[in-house]
């Protein structure tokens, strides 16, 4: 009987482990800095993580297929500068958003084409795209930032609806939609089947190439959305924006418990993973830690979290 309860406990921990890690970190944070728990700071954190969160959402699709996408940061950067450019010349918010999204989707299509149709390993294909697109950004901006001056566009990054920041609403809506797609549609099933065993999926009549392609398109699309949110919040598009965000997004997915080898995991915990990364950032800022040292802590937390995760998994495997 005791063994039974132990097993059940471990299972519960398994399901909520990302939430547990989040709680532990929050408690730490609250001790380290008094201002952490203030409402304005918490909203601030939430706003900070929206960009990495939105990209993490798309990245979950890619990682569930067993792939990886390193180009998200560059897609974000490129979509951001071009959208801001369009905004600066036309003043049309709708057109700017459409541009960002179109660029995101196009980049996703190209990534997915090389990966699913030409069989190039995701790591290599997206590494190439990452460099290529960052080059495009520099050529487009010539290194100088493009300011965003249209209020309706800024609203997407800074506005609130009933007191809730717009980016947070976008984040929540996207995650719910992604969750629905992954758990309630045949496309979602295809993603899991593909990630679990590509050949079995193919022989079961699933269009594996389309499925894989679609994962990268979704990821590109969400990178485009993230570009709008980021440029709207910062009020300008920088040539460096989005640099390194792929690591935050991948870390969020892994902290959310999705397996890098594909086939298992959920999208909702990714938002928790993104929160964890965001809170670490926030607390270090509140404590006035040298910004250059932030990465040291973030990297260490990811390593520790994954280690703990593995230990818990081993434990539950043993309990069986």
């Amino acid at each position: 009987m005791k063994q039974e309860t132990k097993k059940r406990l471990i299972n519960q921990i398994n399901i909520y482990r990302s939430v547990l890690i989040l709680l532990v970190i929050c408690i730490f944070a609250a001790f380290l800095s008094e201002s952490f728990l203030s409402v304005s700071n918490l909203f601030n954190v939430f706003k900070q993580v929206t960009v990495a969160g939105i990209i993490g959402c798309g990245m979950t699709f890619v990682i569930l297929t067993g792939g990886i996408d390193l180009s998200v940061g560059s897609i974000l950067g490129f979509a951001g500068v071009v959208a801001s450019g369009v905004l600066a010349s036309t003043g049309n918010t709708f057109l700017a958003v459409l541009t960002a999204v179109a660029i995101g989707i196009t980049c996703g299509i190209v990534n997915g084409f090389f990966i699913s149709q030409c069989g190039i390993p995701p790591f290599i294909a997206t590494l190439g795209m990452m460099t290529l697109l960052r080059g495009c950004v520099l050529v487009y901006t010539k290194g100088s930032p493009i300011p965003v001056k249209v209020d309706s566009y800024k609203f997407i990054g800074k506005g609130t609806v009933l007191g809730v920041p717009v980016p947070v609403i976008i984040l929540i809506a996207l995650f719910l939609l992604a969750h629905y797609i992954l758990t309630q549609t045949s496309f979602g099933r295809s993603i899991y089947a593909f990630g679990g065993n590509r050949e079995a999926a193919r022989l079961s009549g699933i269009s594996v190439k389309k499925t894989e392609w679609m994962a990268y398109i979704i990821n590109g699309f969400l990178s485009g959305i993230a570009a709008v949110v980021l440029t709207a919040r910062l009020g300008s598009a920088q040539s460096t924006s989005g640099q390194g965000i792929e690591m935050d997004a991948i870390a969020a997915v892994i902290l959310g418990g999705t397996s890098l080898s594909g086939g298992t995991g959920f999208v909702l915990p990714t938002v928790v993973g993104a929160m964890i990364m965001g809170i670490i950032d926030n607390i270090l800022t509140l404590m006035n830690v040298n910004p250059h040292a932030t990465n040291i802590v973030k990297g260490a937390v990811v390593l520790i979290a994954v280690l703990v995760d593995k230990k818990v998994k081993d434990l539950s495997a043993k309990a069986e």
Binding site: Q184, T185, R189, G196, N197, A200, R202, S204, G205, G263
Partner: protein, 503 residues
């Protein structure tokens, strides 16, 4: 035989969440004997073997090696005590040579730390020669046939000084000729006093090579008997707890219209094959390894590319260039390799069963969860799949139940024409009988079946007509009345000259 007792298991219990896989079983293994382990799917055979080989801990009980109690903490541990297991999924490095694989982690080195290649190849070759194996120790493993790879694993057991070698369904992936090679190797091992624990669902094999057998049922020990003290019916009734009198259902088939036709299809390994399948018919196709039977089936299903040829379903020309298109044309497929090609082991039984029917189960955008659960439950019931819940990962099921899940997937897709590659590989007699009955019912309901099998008694038992293939071509077509094992084998192996084939 008559050797001393080397391994004794007493009251071994093993529980998994929700399942008692082993419930106080006993087993005694003597030096130099081939000991067959029999039982239905899920009886706990593999679980016990993993326990003996140190790959899995047990809940309670005791294990004695030559009279001394032992506890193994890992497979390495068990190997040190002379117990080795041949896994069905080979764990060898394909890019390395046979010799390197045999001594992996224990390569002989010179005093300066350099690998002593001469010694390595010499010793490896000696071990291969001992077993009467004909290939070189320098061959890369990726260039070996399945049987040769298996022999290499066995030779590896010798290099670690194994006293007991466990073989869990070793013949499942072998063709007839290769099985004979394996059996000769087993004889050699016996002569060296090595005990072999042998698991197989093919009864004829068990009676051919084993000295003693032990039967399990639902995780419980039923009996251990000398092979001379028992017979086929006895073993089967001990396994299933009732008599399985007629394994093959009586078929009453009268030729109806052609529903499927392949005209001069070609691909790698298949040359100009034409065949017709009639409504309600079970057409058997067989051949030795490399005869192109599996390739033919995959080609029809669009799983491998067709170089030339045409496929007609219900008289209409169809494009079957991908599995999805073949499914849409009404063709279903059960692969011979359920782990690699049949199942997504990580995902649940439910998801696996509905995988080919997602479109049908979708209402608007959304999968109809209730409908899916109902359909899956129907299949689980109809095929008598032993699961504690449909949410269980498919990988946790025993081999035979996994096969039934693949079957359920194809049945749920509701195709008119079913291609079954080795449909009963690794499936116990009881379940075999069930699968044959299901096949019979399906054909009565108007479906047509193409079954590829190297198990000749099965092929003859179920088919209305048999086509024999050799080197990618069809060499013989015979009706139910003329079928016999010798004739089929003779044509499959090319032991019959062209004039006699009756052209």
């Amino acid at each position: 035989m008559g050797g001393r007792l080397v391994l004794k298991l007493e009251s071994i219990v093993k529980t998994f969440p929700g399942v008692k896989a082993l419930d106080g079983v006993h087993l005694e293994i003597f030096e130099g004997e081939v000991h067959a382990l029999c039982g239905e799917n899920g009886a706990g055979k593999s679980t016990l073997m993993k326990i003996i080989a140190g790959a899995q801990p047990y809940t309670s009980g005791a294990m004695y090696l030559v009279g001394k109690e032992v506890v193994f903490h890992s497979a390495k541990d068990a190997e040190k005590h002379g117990i080795a297991m041949i896994y069905q999924e080979f764990n060898m490095v394909p890019e390395l040579s046979v010799a390197e694989n045999m001594y992996l982690g224990r390569l002989p080195v010179s005093p300066f730390g350099k690998v002593d290649w001469n010694k390595l190849y010499r010793e490896a070759q000696e071990n291969l020669d001992h077993l009467g194996l004909k290939f070189s120790a320098k061959t890369k493993v990726k260039n070996l046939s399945v049987a040769e790879a298996q022999m290499t694993e066995i030779a590896k057991c010798l290099t670690i000084g194994a006293k007991i070698i466990i073989m869990d369904e070793p013949t499942a992936a072998l063709a007839e000729e290769e099985i004979q090679i394996l059996f000769r190797t087993i004889e050699e091992l016996k002569k060296k006093g090595i005990a072999i624990v042998y698991i197989s669902h093919r009864m004829d094999e068990i009676f051919q090579i084993s000295d003693r057998l032990t039967v399990f049922r639902d995780g419980k020990f039923v009996a251990s008997k000398l092979i001379g003290e028992t017979d086929y019916d006895d073993v089967v009734s001990m396994m299933v707890g009732r008599n399985v009198s007629n394994l093959y259902p009586v078929r009453d088939y009268k030729t109806q219209e052609v529903v499927f036709e392949a005209r001069k299809v070609n691909s790698r390994g298949v040359h100009d094959v034409s065949l017709k399948l009639h409504k309600g018919e079970i057409l058997g196709i067989t051949g030795l390894l490399g005869a192109g039977t599996i390739e033919l089936s995959k080609l029809i299903y669009g799983a491998i590319p067709m170089d030339s040829g045409e496929i007609y379903v219900h008289g209409e020309k169809k494009d079957c260039s991908s599995p999805r298109k073949a499914l849409e044309a009404g063709i279903g497929f059960v692969s011979d390799d359920r782990k690699q090609e049949g199942l997504v082991l990580l995902r649940s039984i439910k998801e696996n069963i509905s995988m080919s029917s997602l479109k049908k189960l979708t209402k608007g955008f959304r999968l109809d969860n209730k409908l899916e659960a109902d359909r899956v439950q129907e299949q689980v019931k109809a095929l008598n799949i032993k699961v504690s819940s449909a949410q269980q990962p498919a990988g946790k099921l025993s081999g035979g139940n996994q096969q039934k899940v693949v079957f359920a997937k194809v049945l749920l897709a509701d195709s008119d024409i079913l291609i079954l590659d080795e449909p009963t590989r690794g499936v116990d007699v009881g379940a075999k009988a069930e699968i044959y009955t299901i096949m019979n019912k399906l054909t009565e309901a108007g479906k047509s079946i193409l079954v590829i099998s190297t198990d000749l008694p099965e092929l003859i038992g179920v088919s209305d007509r048999v086509i024999v293939m050799r080197e990618g071509r069809t060499v013989l077509e015979i009706s139910k009345q003329e079928m016999n094992q010798e004739k089929i084998l003779a044509h499959a192996s090319g032991g019959v000259s062209e004039n006699e084939t009756g052209n």
